[in-house]
């Protein structure tokens, strides 16, 4: 299969069952909502070392936020439910509550809920106020610029993480252009985030190492500088590989994002689109690249 002259490898991306939550940060203007969202999703590229994976889903217009102020929607993913509550409380507490003018609302009607505002309320030192409206409980925590309003509980639901595809290009310049185009298109898909810097991974990994103390190491088969020293999967013409990892609320949205991204990445100078997997031995989902375009 080829798209715009670019080979689509007959392989699959191996993805995993995760848990997700979504929350809306609003603020006095878009600048401050985005500032808080950037901070809350910082150091959240991979559950391996960061505890969660998170990203900005998109801007939320003022007339769509609960308080009528400009907002940003954030998605966060963890391997387990227990880890989700801890991540939400820590991140919202340390990076949203601390940011001027923000408020934080649940954005997911999940079957299960975790306490976020319900835990952060104690920061109010007894002066916090609870408000209940239309079944939604809000906490008002007195802070120095007025009050931090945060919803008591956030919904969580099963989700899919680790969807991916690799872009193999003839040089760094064209490969970077291809992934940037892909990311721009994928931002239009709701329900997904690409948690790595700019949505892109340059240091993809494999789940083994020559060192006993390491769980993962560089993806040697896709590293161009050591082509001749390893069992490389890179054709002769390929001198650069970049990867996009996708986490989404369900398999369908991950597939949609992969399809949209791959199409956008198929430009002149790109040799092949591939995907990362573990032979189907680890993940619960196998997303075949060819199936995306049938």
């Amino acid at each position: 299969m080829h798209i715009n002259g670019v080979e689509i490898e007959d392989t699959f991306a191996e993805a995993f069952k995760m848990y997700s939550s979504r929350f809306i940060i609003s603020a006095v203007n878009q600048k401050w909502a985005t500032e808080a969202a950037s901070r809350v999703t910082g150091f959240a590229t991979s559950v391996i070392g960061c505890g969660c994976e998170a990203g900005i889903e998109g801007k939320v217009p003022a007339d769509e936020t609960p308080d009528g102020r400009p907002g940003v929607s954030v998605l966060i993913f963890t391997m387990g439910k227990k880890g989700m509550e801890e991540q939400l409380v820590n991140r919202v507490g340390q990076t949203v509550m601390t940011c001027p003018t923000t408020a934080c609302f649940n954005g997911l009607e999940g079957e299960e809920k975790v306490k976020v505002g319900g835990k952060l309320r104690y920061f109010g030192d007894g002066f916090q106020i609870s408000k209940l409206l239309d079944g939604r409980r809000l906490w008002r925590i007195p802070v120095m610029d007025g009050e931090f309003v945060v919803e008591d509980s956030f919904g969580i639901q099963p989700a899919v993480g680790g969807g991916n595809f690799l872009i193999l290009g003839k040089d760094l310049e064209v490969t970077l252009e291809a992934v940037e185009r892909a990311i721009e298109e994928m931002k239009g898909v709701k329900g997904v985030v690409m948690p790595f810097p700019g949505g892109i991974v340059r240091s993809g990994s494999k789940t083994s190492s020559k060192y006993k103390f390491l769980r993962a190491s560089t993806n040697t088969a896709f590293c161009p500088t050591i082509k001749r020293q390893v069992e490389s999967q890179l054709p002769e013409e390929v001198n650069c590989v970049l990867e996009i990892v996708i986490d989404g609320l369900d398999e369908g949205t991950v597939r949609e994002a992969m399809k949209v991204g791959i199409k956008a990445a198929c430009i002149r100078g790109i040799e092949r689109i591939s995907a990362g997997n573990y032979g189907g031995t680890l993940g619960q989902y196998q997303i075949y690249l060819h199936e995306l375009f049938r």
């Binding site: 609003s26 609960p66 308080d67 009528g68 102020r69 408020a103 002066f127 106020i129 609870s130 408000k131 209940l132 409206l133 239309d134 809000l138 008002r140 007025g146 009050e147 309003v149």
Partner: protein
């Protein structure tokens, strides 16, 4: 109504939960207390329809008490004035009154929505005497004025009054929110422990200074973000809310310091 009433009627069986599984004859046979006599509903009302959770009442039922008492589902529409204890203790469903409502509207309700297109009497959403808690959840919207002791001892419900409120608004409140667009009366928030009273002091152009109890202390003037959520919700209920109320600042007074003192009165500050 078949005939005007000179003596009040106790009619707690006029309720969607009761009508839901009854045919017309069974509904007509439901008992009512008319003064000191027990009568049948069909003697006082012409009944049409059956087995429904939607009830429409035409005529002046200002002397019919306890309509919708304890309801948990359905809808009641009253095309006239409604009597005392309308929707008291209800936990879900909706009541709409095209006219006025009397005292004890939504007393101790636990959920649902009541909307009054005209005025309401005293003790809206209040606790019955001897009880510690008034309406616990749910929403009451009054598009006209209301009487005294509205929200007395309230908990977590929300009352919105587009007109004026009488005296002792939110007396002894332990939680909940009362929003009054018109003027509030004397001794608002007396013995308030927790909860929120919001007032915009809309009037007829005459300058009437707001008088709060001396046991309420001014904290600051600020923009309460949580109030935006309330006002946006009221807009979704079809109420016209000025944009400056949503975006504006409010003077915050905490009290009543003769009690716990964690209640608040927020007063809209025009042009701040």
């Amino acid at each position: 109504m078949k005939e005007p009433l000179a003596i009040p009627v106790e009619a707690e069986f006029i309720c969607p939960d009761v009508f839901a599984d009854k045919n017309c004859r069974e509904i007509e046979s439901l008992p009512l207390h008319h003064g000191n006599r027990e009568r049948r509903l069909g003697e006082l009302f012409e009944v049409h329809g059956e087995r429904s959770v939607r009830i429409m009442i035409e005529g002046d039922v200002s002397r019919v008490k306890k309509i919708g008492y304890g309801m948990t589902k359905g809808r009641i529409v009253i095309m006239g004035d409604a009597g005392m204890h309308l929707g008291a203790a209800m936990s879900d469903g909706e009541i709409i009154v095209e006219g006025n409502a009397s005292d004890w509207l939504g007393a101790e309700m636990k959920g649902g929505v009541i909307r009054i297109k005209g005025d309401a009497g005293n003790l809206v959403g209040a606790a019955y005497r001897g009880s510690n808690s008034g309406m616990n959840q749910g929403m009451i919207i009054i598009e006209g004025d209301s009487g005294n002791e509205v929200g007395e001892r309230m908990r977590k419900g929300t009352i919105t009054i587009m007109g004026r409120a009488g005296d002792f608004l939110g007396a002894g409140m332990t939680g909940g929110t009362i929003i009054v667009f018109g003027r509030i009366g004397m001794r608002s928030g007396a013995e308030m422990r927790r909860g929120t009273i919001v007032t915009f002091q809309e009037g007829d152009g005459t300058a009437v200074p707001l008088q709060l109890l001396p046991t309420f202390r001014y904290d600051c003037t600020y923009h309460p973000v949580f109030l935006r959520v309330y006002l946006k919700t009221l807009q979704r209920h079809g109420l016209e809310i000025k944009e400056e109320y949503v975006t504006g600042n409010y003077r915050r007074y905490n009290g009543d310091i003769v009690e716990l003192g964690k209640g608040e009165i927020l007063v809209y500050e025009p042009g701040a």
